[in-house]
């Protein structure tokens, strides 16, 4: 099981459903945010730190089977509610390398 760095609220453990994105995937997420004109609801900032991803498709009935949520943290240090997320389909951001990577979180949208 991959052990992504950082973002652990309790310091010691990160939840097993989350996995880290490589730099290529993170770039694509930023592109998607820019393309959709995304901004922080609390302060209007458009710059975000990209965090972990969570596969939504299996656990949540209201999501498409290939949906993920990517953690976004507003870069504005004064922001009252900096933590948010964006829902993206797998093909829009995940790099191919991660798809074949055995260490990626197993709960993934798989073609059956």
């Amino acid at each position: 099981m991959s052990d992504p760095a950082g973002n652990a609220a309790d310091g010691a453990m990160v939840r097993p459903e989350l996995f880290a994105l490589d730099s290529a995937s993170r770039e694509r997420v930023l592109e998607q945010i820019a393309a959709k004109g995304g901004y922080c609801e609390s302060c209007g900032e458009k710059d975000f730190d990209i965090g972990h991803a969570l596969f939504l498709g299996f656990l949540f009935l209201d999501e498409d089977s290939d949906a993920y949520m990517v953690a976004l943290t507003c870069r504005n240090p004064e922001c009252a509610k900096p933590r948010t997320g964006i829902v993206l389909p797998e093909k829009d951001f995940l790099s191919a390398a991660l798809c074949g990577d055995g260490s990626a979180w197993p709960l993934r949208a798989r073609h059956r």
Binding site: M13, R15, G51, L59, F60, L61, R112
Partner: protein, 498 residues
């Protein structure tokens, strides 16, 4: 020693017909309970695909989370009491019938031995077994074998009755008891004795089959030996007024059927009323017999289930998903109500309260499946000590982020999921707020970031996705006032040691 005359005293006859009533109630309500998870396993993990029997046509998806609420079957009221996925009602009828049946059985045992009538069932010597084999051969020649001297039965009937009364009936009671979370928690060796919780459940089902076979053969025997005469014995005490005996037998059977129909209709139309009336007896018995039991479970690591089964789907709200993807940094637990000092805690504060307490325990879902898991967290008593409940606080209410209207299409009801339990359960051993499971952070499908564990209770009490805990003095003002979401909507009991 005076030889007991093996006749049909009044108590024997009354107990016989009461037995017919209670046994048939047990059978039909038992099938209702089976319908809620119509799969039987041998192993405690209840691993999907490993069942040895299935009584359903449903197939579950492989690409989506499904829970056991999706697997629930809708059986006809003809075979189940009351039918139509009403597990709450099925359980109430089953438990009230258990109480009635055990009381009848106890009176029967006591009187059998006090009057010497036990000789009618207990074989005098090994010769009875040889005689029983001869009787079977005789039946296979389509003839009736001779009765045993001075007895109202032939040898094979005698042995069969002995088996049913002294073996099968206690067997059903004991395998039933082995499925009680409170009994399993306090006496893990007892559930191991039966091969585990699922084995006990499977054996209990085989007992049901044995009773059905017994009833089929018994009724056939009464028919072939003389319906009128035998019913005269079992109603009037001797072979007289045979025609009237036949009429009376059908009247009695009709009355029993009428009770079944009435119970079914009443349960389907007024479940809350059934729950209240039957519950008045059942809950009292539960609290007296089972509430004092404390959990002492410590299953070895090798017994942990690879895939712990799940019920209830995670909250589909954006807020929850955002919290999850940020590892619940923004999640807060509010503890308040009738307390001296309300508190708001985040996960770090909860973890800091104490070294995590771990417990490897058997989880019992109300539907009948089980799994063994390791949960780590802090004792709920610590949180109670932090906020200091006021003297008038009697219950604890757990509010969750799950909304059944939105999140659980297979549930039969709407609205926010919550559960209420008696305050005394807070202070029982192995009652914890768990934030870890099987060595990892508590998974989303198991209630992240925090869930309740109360090991003497059935699983639905152990609220998941908690965000608020309230100490209250009256549960009637919450939801529909029955002590929890499942209590309100499916009419389960609030106190579920069994």
């Amino acid at each position: 020693m005076t030889e007991t005359v093996l006749d049909y005293p009044a108590w024997l006859r009354i107990d016989h017909w009461l037995n017919v009533l209670f046994l048939t109630l047990l059978l039909r309500s038992g099938i209702e309970i089976l319908s809620t998870h119509p799969k039987l396993y041998w192993h405690d993990d209840s691993k999907p695909g490993t069942e040895w029997a299935r009584f359903t046509t449903k197939k579950m998806p492989t690409d989506r989370l499904y829970d056991t609420l999706d697997e629930e079957e809708d059986y006809s009221p003809l075979i189940s009491l009351p039918g139509h996925k009403k597990l709450g009602m099925g359980r109430h009828w089953h438990f009230i019938a258990v109480i009635g049946w055990i009381l009848v059985g106890l009176s029967y045992y006591l009187l059998l031995f006090a009057t010497g009538q036990w000789h009618r069932y207990w074989p005098q010597s090994w010769a009875t077994f040889a005689e029983a084999w001869n009787d079977i051969i005789t039946y296979m020649t389509f003839n009736l074998p001779p009765l045993l001297p001075n007895e109202p039965l032939d040898a094979i009937q005698k042995l069969t009755y002995a088996g049913v009364i002294f073996l099968l009936a206690p067997f059903q009671i004991l395998t039933g008891a082995a499925q009680s979370p409170a009994i399993e928690a306090r006496f893990p060796w007892f559930v191991r004795l039966w091969g585990g919780r699922q084995c006990a459940r499977s054996l209990h089902f085989l007992g049901l089959v044995a009773f059905l076979i017994f009833i089929a053969i018994h009724v056939s025997m009464v028919f072939f030996w003389g319906w009128g005469q035998l019913n005269a014995s079992m109603i009037f005490g001797s072979v007289r007024n045979v025609a009237w005996a036949t009429v009376c037998s059908f009247l009695i059977i009709g009355a029993i059927v009428a009770i079944h129909v009435a119970a079914t209709v009443w349960s389907l139309r007024r479940p809350a009323q059934v729950r209240r009336i039957l519950g008045a007896v059942i809950t009292r018995a539960r609290l007296i017999l089972l509430r004092p039991l404390d959990s002492r479970q410590n299953y070895p690591e090798r017994m942990l289930s690879d895939e712990h089964r799940v019920n209830g789907k995670p909250p589909c709200s954006t807020r929850y998903k955002v919290m999850a993807v940020h590892n619940f940094v923004d999640w807060r637990l509010r503890v308040g109500g009738l307390v001296e000092q309300p508190a708001t805690l985040d996960l770090a504060a909860i973890r800091a309260m104490a070294e995590p307490e771990g417990q490897r325990v058997l989880h019992n879902c109300v539907q009948g499946w089980s799994s063994i898991g390791e949960w780590k967290g802090i004792p709920l008593a610590l949180v109670a000590d932090l906020v200091r409940p006021l003297p008038q606080a009697r219950f604890v209410c757990f509010l969750t982020m799950q909304d059944n209207s939105r999140d659980e299409p297979s549930s039969q009801g709407e609205g926010q999921f919550y559960e209420v339990m008696d305050l005394e359960l807070v202070y029982k051993p192995q009652t914890i707020l768990a934030y870890e499971m099987n060595g990892n952070l508590l998974p989303i499908k198991h209630g992240a970031p925090l869930r309740l564990r109360v090991e003497t209770q059935v699983g639905f009490k152990m609220a998941k996705w908690i965000y608020q805990i309230e100490f209250i003095d009256d549960l009637r003002g919450i939801g529909y006032g029955l002590g929890g979401w499942r209590e309100d909507n499916i009419h389960y009991d609030k106190d579920v040691e069994i």
